[in-house]
Symmetry: D3
Subunit: 258 residues, 6 copies
């Protein structure tokens, strides 16, 4: 019933997502839309962006038809509800290792009885129109996507239990942290990466859920890891990197041809 999850399930083409760390204006969101992205990930784990800015960017993304995830800082439970109330469409929670942690996050994202998201009456998605809980809660629960990042061997080991948690929609494989944890930082060809993805994809698939493979920028390697359960949501990069690459390319052009 969630449009974005439906898209991920049925897409034959990559669904593109741009991560935001350095930007503070909505320019980056408009650029994401204009360059063919379908989603943004506002990265609060690796930036010092305020929640007010994050909510504003997310709301603009939604206005433009993009799905807006927020990656929340570790263990900041309170931020989850605040961001959802502010118009964020989905939560990406880092470093989940157990079903208990998974349940805590999932429950923060769903209203009673499935969870314990705190009741409110007005949200950006409804134009701040006061709306009865009986109507609002179901609609928001349906619209919200919960993705949990599995970034450690411990998390992979618990994949089946984590995927089984009610309210979890997607798993995400965090290749950067995973390879660092196994002592092979950045070596995405390591067979343990392949096996971890297999384990996670299978766990997700069995529960009718999806796996996103994140942190790998090489399309060929991503194709190798494609399998049932893996969805085509692709992180194309971070605004910081894109700006760096653009600045470097322009500088080189003028230096070489100066």
């Amino acid at each position: 019933m969630n449009a974005f999850l439906d898209r991920l399930r049925s897409a034959r083409e990559p669904v593109l997502m741009l991560a935001i760390r350095s930007s503070r204006t909505a320019d980056v969101v408009r650029i994401a839309a204009a360059t063919g992205h379908h989603a943004v990930m506002i990265d609060l784990e690796h930036s010092t962006m305020s929640l007010d800015v994050a909510a504003s960017l997310a709301a603009t993304a939604a206005d433009l038809g993009l799905f807006a995830f927020a990656r929340v800082p570790e263990r900041e439970y309170g931020a989850i509800g605040r961001l959802l109330d502010g118009g964020v469409g989905g939560i990406i929670a880092p470093r989940v290792e157990t079903a208990a942690e998974a349940a805590t996050i999932a429950r923060a994202c769903r209203f009673a009885p499935r969870g314990q998201r705190s009741q409110l009456a007005t949200v950006p998605q409804f134009g701040l129109r006061p709306t009865p809980a009986a109507q609002l809660n179901q609609a928001l629960d349906d619209a919200t996507v919960v993705q949990l990042l599995i970034e450690t061997p411990a998390g992979v080991a618990n994949a089946a239990a984590i995927a089984a948690v009610d309210g979890v929609d997607m798993l995400g494989f965090g290749a950067n942290d995973f390879t660092a944890e196994i002592g092979a930082p950045g070596d995405f060809g390591d067979p343990r990466v392949t096996r971890a993805v297999e384990t996670l994809a299978s766990a997700a698939h069995r529960r009718g859920k999806l796996l996103m493979v994140g942190g790998i920028g090489d399309p060929a390697r991503l194709r190798e890891l494609d399998q049932p359960g893996v969805c085509p949501l692709r992180l194309t990069g971070t605004d910081t990197d894109m700006l760096y690459a653009g600045a470097a390319a322009r500088a080189e052009r003028f230096t070489k041809n100066g």
Copy 2:
């Protein structure tokens, strides 16, 4: 010894409180004062407002003679001290279910030996004048009001123990969340609401503490729930709703008479 609690104990008229979610300038605080409110509740649970803005609004409220509560996000322990240091008069903590949770919050709000609020020497209430702990701590402890929201059946079940916690001044009944939890979202006439309020009022009363009934906008229903222990602190509404209502009324006026 706390002036606001004294007012709540002795008031025969409603004591009015306005909740703030959408505003970021002090205009809303001045409007609260000019329209006869006695308190504001800065809602950090359901907004993405920054702490800097929250502290600024709270300090202005105090300058104008209003009592300023901040409703803190769930499980953000660190925010409590920061807000109190910034001039917030009272803390409203959501979703308290056990005496242990209550004690954690109460201790965050009181200096040693009653609690473990971190020592500082300068606060807005004292004009940032360096003040010895021996003088500052007692004054701030007296001035601070701690309200714990009971929003679930589990919390109601533990009402007596929660009310007994040292440093807790008030309980608050969260009607919105409570009715959602019991599967009757928004049905404030439900007898379980009546019973919950009775339980909480009685628990508070026995400890010489107060209960605020929140989330119910109908004065008649509030009158029915009045009883020993219940104080007349009334949440008149949220800035977001008030702005919505005002905009809708003006639009209708021009549309109908246009």
Copy 3:
């Protein structure tokens, strides 16, 4: 060729506009949309709002299908281009009294050869996609609406010349300032008001332009002033007033029924 002007020309119903002074988040824009408004006026003349916030609100308004005017501070020429570049749809310039002043503002809003708006290649309306001037300029010029406020007898006296200025789309009658200037502050029934509106409406009509009557909140009085040239763009009020009215109503409700 401008969609909003077309709407104003063909509308049989009031076209509603909400003014923004106190708000700093986009909540007010969503509320405007949800309550049936078709436009917002971001009031930089009577607020201390930053241009960054103004541009953000305007861009959100456009995303939601609302037309976004910015009322610029007097004599701040530089702000006009910055706001237009940031996504504002229309400029409302206060206290215009001569054709020369009118021309200065109109030229700031149009690219060469009609004006001297500074060339750029990327704007929010085009998703920040680099766009050749040959394509961008015409589109932006068409999309931009320039409204000049006539708020003084001197301005009324020069109405014909002002209305004749190329690049001016609308006149606005500023009833508040006009009545203050003539020594009858707030007396919108004064016959000089009627005559001023007639003069302005006639001047606008002769040039195929429109007149908005602003500052009058009484629909009946507005109907009396309706005539050829007058368009049905209605300022329903300011966020500040709407919030004040809402807070007062809620306070009264609880006080009377407390």
Copy 4:
């Protein structure tokens, strides 16, 4: 009829004013109050502070019983009304050299018929309560203080004409700029300084207005310049300098005694 001007006229003790450049929170205003200051000057000429911050600091100052001037940037006419609307009590305009410039500024600060400050209905000083122009305008005009800085020989030469301008309440002698202009930067003992102050004091006195001598930090020199027309408003310093002095003193203490 203006309370602050009355105080300046009748004070036998210095009336202390603290200038704000580096601060962005209201801490500096509370510190000003707690250390015996009676006024603050928010310096927008020599800082990049936003108008929103300036208005917020000014409103807090007023709440605490301090008079709040804003020194506006040169030639930013539009900022004057925005700041006054935001709660600033007085305007200090730099580098005024002619009666025409003086009249432009004075008129921006007064409502019709004395000036052309744009009409509004809600201001912080009135709790944002909608107030009829007939009542609001007189009260705000009375409460507003207009001080013009004379910082050049040209300005001194025109002192009589400038002081005669309706709506001007005070002149200010800018010793720093004046001595720089005469080629003796920082030499406040220069006889041309004495003569300039005599000219300005006399011009002010003849019109029943006041002169503040600014930029001179030496109380002895200030006493020498005391004469009819000179008021005891003293700029004690700027937050930047005070912070610098405090940091240097502390560093020295630990270094010497380390």
Copy 5:
């Protein structure tokens, strides 16, 4: 005596400058430095960035050894001094057409007797250490670079007079606006462009000043325009465009290889 002008005079390689419009954090400045840029241009003409942010970015640029220009909005005289006081190294003033306009800007950038920049005692470049005017003024005047943009045929016609103005260090040719003005938007091969650059280069050269050719991104065309008086300061692009290009490239990569 100005280090940056010396570099421009002696450089055999392009000196690279990155323009900033979308960014609000210093990330962009660090990226500029890391990618080999030597200067940044903070574009306040085509953005809604606040002065506080602009000053912060400029100060960081200086800390990193980059020269920081601010392009100021048209006709915002007051912003010039505020930006220089906040740590901006150079001012780029758009659309200068006459020697009188040139002189107004140049005088705003220099202390007396060369200009009328308002005296202050503490600036970021000196660590906010209070510094006597006799020492501060000369150092700041030497460090400040004033560049005037000639963007119209009228400006080109007055090139000699503009270049002769004391306090002007550089002319800048604005190719985008110039080609729009002559009815050939974006046609940088137009012979009128060649002639305008010749006129400006010659005017600058005769006065020992420099010309920057801006708005042309093609190194080959820039080489054609190289001649005595033209300096190798190259605008590599704007953060907005760089981010757009980076996002588009990444999206294409994943789409093609997805």
Copy 6:
């Protein structure tokens, strides 16, 4: 291998640190540098400063050659990584009482395998240049300083175990909170203070780590507490206090000499 720790180990003179609570612009950092400080402590425990501002101040400090600590709020685990990613050099964690708490904080500050700081590729210290984990992680781990505040008898009792935790570089004795906890607020001469410092210094020394004695402003008392393990890092004071002291001194000067 850490330059700042090396300096602390070899310094014969006090190493000065200034705490920041009230400031929001980098002026305070420049003042710290200009007055001979070597470090700043951005105090997020006792202020409402945003992470964005904190990171900006820290990055400027690093640009100027100062070491930048952030004191994080209690129990806000997620803030640690965000601040480090934003350019903070060291973390000061308040109220650590057990080795388990110490390990949690230390692991948040170190990359795998020593800890679980989340992997990223671009940081301000490297100019946001994408850098392989194999290179980045070691460099950042070396550069990061972790200081744990022991502020309670319970913490002192566990000093040996806390000092033994891998990844902890320094202990800090919090004299203000400690004396409040033992019922002698502000009595830094209490023999329990002496004993606590001895215990902590000894525990640190045995592990090759350092102890900073904080909260005591009297150099003589600090000298008494000097002993092996104690490093000469001195907190000279807080910006708030320095501003207060400066404002009070200036006010007194003008009042006495007025």
